[in-house]
């Protein structure tokens, strides 16, 4: 897929996730918007997956360890053909198969149930070990929040992955620098990230996670690395694409009201037109 098409797709993902969160009257738009480009790239370009055969044993896996960004993942899965795009607005509604956080038993295309921070990365490590044991060249992509790195379990998992040289594991940190209570530096900073991952025996790459061409480059670079798991520190903007949500921690976990929703949709539609 051309970069421009991927950008367009990511913008569509943003539009649909804002609609879904607005429809739910709650949810987590900020981190979903910051990670939309990465999730779109993975599902439309990078991963070896087949929506018609979602359980294919040797497929690549994606674990959304920052499970609260589910609206972005659901929108990408819907556009990729796992379920109808129209269903996205059922997000968080009673009886919907689109739960507040990803549920592998209910939603087609979800490889692991997540939502409790720090846990998805451990499951991703288990997948990486298992797929390697089976002799597959499959890879496991795990998207984590930067605030999530404050969870101790994350570092247990990194130690495990580094020690076992799980080079089929790619951890992407959605480094939007904000968590619920404010900037990472104001809460309990996990920085410096590059040095920490290197110390845990990872190959580390950095990228502007909201620049699709750069995202494409970094995943290409990751393919050339071996012998260690890869950590991609993706610098992103929380709320990316919606003017009043950008870089504002208060949009971590609330839905836009009707007026805000109109502005958000206009913002994104304008961005879509700009992409062409």
């Amino acid at each position: 897929m051309e970069i421009r098409e991927l950008e367009k797709k990511a913008n569509d993902v943003r539009l649909r996730l804002i609609e879904a969160v607005h429809s739910a009257k709650c949810g987590h738009p900020g981190g979903a918007l910051s990670s939309a480009d990465i999730i779109t790239y993975l599902y439309f370009q990078e991963m070896n997956i087949d929506p018609k055969n979602p359980d294919k044993d040797d497929r690549d896996r994606f674990v959304l360890s920052k499970g609260h960004s589910a609206p972005a993942l659901y929108a990408a899965l819907a556009y990729r053909g796992y379920f109808p795009v129209e269903d996205l607005i059922s997000l968080r509604h009673t009886g919907s198969y689109l739960q507040g956080h990803p549920d592998m038993k209910q939603t087609p295309g979800i490889d692991m149930s997540t939502g409790s921070l720090g846990q998805g990365i451990s499951a991703a490590c288990g997948m990486a070990v298992g797929l390697r044991h089976k002799g597959y060249s499959s890879r496991v992509f795990c998207l984590m929040g930067d605030g999530e790195l404050e969870e101790g379990e994350a570092w247990e998992a990194f130690m495990f992955a580094g020690y076992r040289k799980l080079d089929n594991l790619i951890v992407i940190v959605d480094n939007n620098d904000l968590q619920i209570d404010g900037h990472l530096d104001e809460v309990c900073s996990p920085y410096p990230l590059v040095e920490k991952f290197e110390a845990f025996n990872f190959n580390v790459l950095t990228v502007d996670g909201n620049d699709m061409a750069a995202v494409a480059d970094v995943f290409e670079k990751a393919k050339g690395l071996s012998g260690k798991p890869v950590a991609i520190i993706a610098k992103t903007v929380k709320g990316k694409g919606v003017s009043f949500m950008e870089n504002d921690a208060s949009w971590h976990g609330k839905a836009p009201n009707d007026e805000e929703f109109e502005v958000a949709m206009q913002d994104l539609e304008r961005l879509g037109e700009k992409i062409g």
């Binding site: 692991m112 149930s113 451990s122 499951a123 490590c125 288990g126 070990v129 044991h133 089976k134 247990e156």
Partner: protein, 333 residues
């Protein structure tokens, strides 16, 4: 468990021999040897440990299948997630540590990464209960059954001896979905020597029939319950003895049937009196409207302490003597 299913009545007649003279094997040993057999039969078995392979007895599996044994280091929370990830790829992970570190510490990991997606992970924990002994209260898990009972979809098994534990490990592999199995450090008498013994998940085992009171025990307390029944007999009290190896789903029929007969039920477990066997039996007695009275013998709202296992079981009233005294006091006989 259907309400109408028939439980099989098995009365072990060979109890004349004192327990002191019977062969003793720790159920963790049974686990280790059965895991090795299963590993030879099934390539999808992966064994995970947290730096305790020598104690949980998974070391025998590791020796023969080093590439299917994953030592996760002293990081139990991550271990549970790794097991979950392996299960999503079609493996059947057996996860081991001490009961304290396999249930209480990674509780939320088990809940959200294993039980919630109902993944096929078998948590087989050794060193449960006071019989850990000298290590003391920090290592004596007296709440593991309760914690695992709370998990929707979790099967909870607490075998009484070597024969039962070996069968239970095979049964755990055979069913799909998460299983918790409680294993012990202490060598315990082999009691299920009846040639007709057959492990049936969710079915209680009647070891002795009586008419005055019913002793319902689990794990190593089953042997003590049988011994206590002998002592009660000497005091003119006729006691039934039921072994409940599957605490969840529990055998409702056998409990209701005993309640109808003796209307006096005693539960015995090397575990907190809250949330474990006693509470599960209490639920059945009330829900089924049996009207039976209940005495719960176990660790009553306190922690354990250091000491040799047998001395601790005596001190906490969990050996045959202690059980007998509690039952006699309760019955006023």
């Amino acid at each position: 468990m259907t309400k109408n299913s028939k439980w099989r009545c098995r009365i072990w007649k060979g109890w004349a021999k004192k327990l002191d003279n019977t062969k003793k094997i720790a159920t963790r040993e049974s686990y280790g040897k059965t895991l090795l057999e299963l590993g030879r039969e099934h390539e999808d078995i992966m064994v995970l440990d947290a730096d305790l392979a020598a104690s949980t007895k998974t070391s025998v599996f590791r020796k023969e299948f080093p590439d299917r044994h994953i030592n996760c280091g002293i990081a139990e929370s991550n271990m549970m997630g790794v097991a979950a990830g392996l299960a999503t790829c079609g493996f059947v992970p057996f996860v081991s540590s001490f009961a304290m570190f396999a249930t209480a510490r990674p509780y939320e990991q088990i809940r959200n990464s294993i039980a919630y997606p109902h993944l096929n992970v078998k948590i087989c924990a050794s060193h449960a209960g006071l019989s850990v002994g000298e290590d003391g209260a920090t290592h004596q898990c007296i709440e593991d059954i309760a914690l695992m009972n709370f998990m929707p979809g979790m099967t909870v098994i607490s075998p009484s001896d070597d024969i039962e534990a070996c069968a239970a490990v095979r049964a755990a592999y055979a069913i799909k979905g998460p299983v918790y199995m409680r294993l012990g450090r202490l060598a315990v008498p082999v009691i299920n020597t009846d040639p007709s013994y057959k492990f049936e998940l969710g079915k209680g085992v009647k070891l002795r029939d009586g008419s005055d009171v019913t002793l319902i025990a689990t794990g190593l307390e089953v042997a003590y319950a049988v011994e206590a029944a002998e002592m009660l007999k000497a005091a003119g009290i006729s006691a039934s003895v039921i072994n409940i190896h599957t605490i969840k789903p529990i055998d409702r029929d056998i409990i209701v049937s005993e309640a109808a007969k003796t209307s006096k039920i005693v539960t015995i477990e090397e575990h907190s009196t809250m949330g474990g066997l006693g509470s599960s039996v209490a639920d059945v007695l009330c829900e089924e409207g049996t009207g039976a009275r209940l005495l719960k013998i176990g660790v009553d709202n306190c922690f354990g302490e250091s000491g040799p296992a047998l001395e601790l079981l005596h001190k906490f009233g969990l050996d045959a003597e202690g059980i007998t005294a509690s039952v006699r006091k309760w019955l006023g006989k």
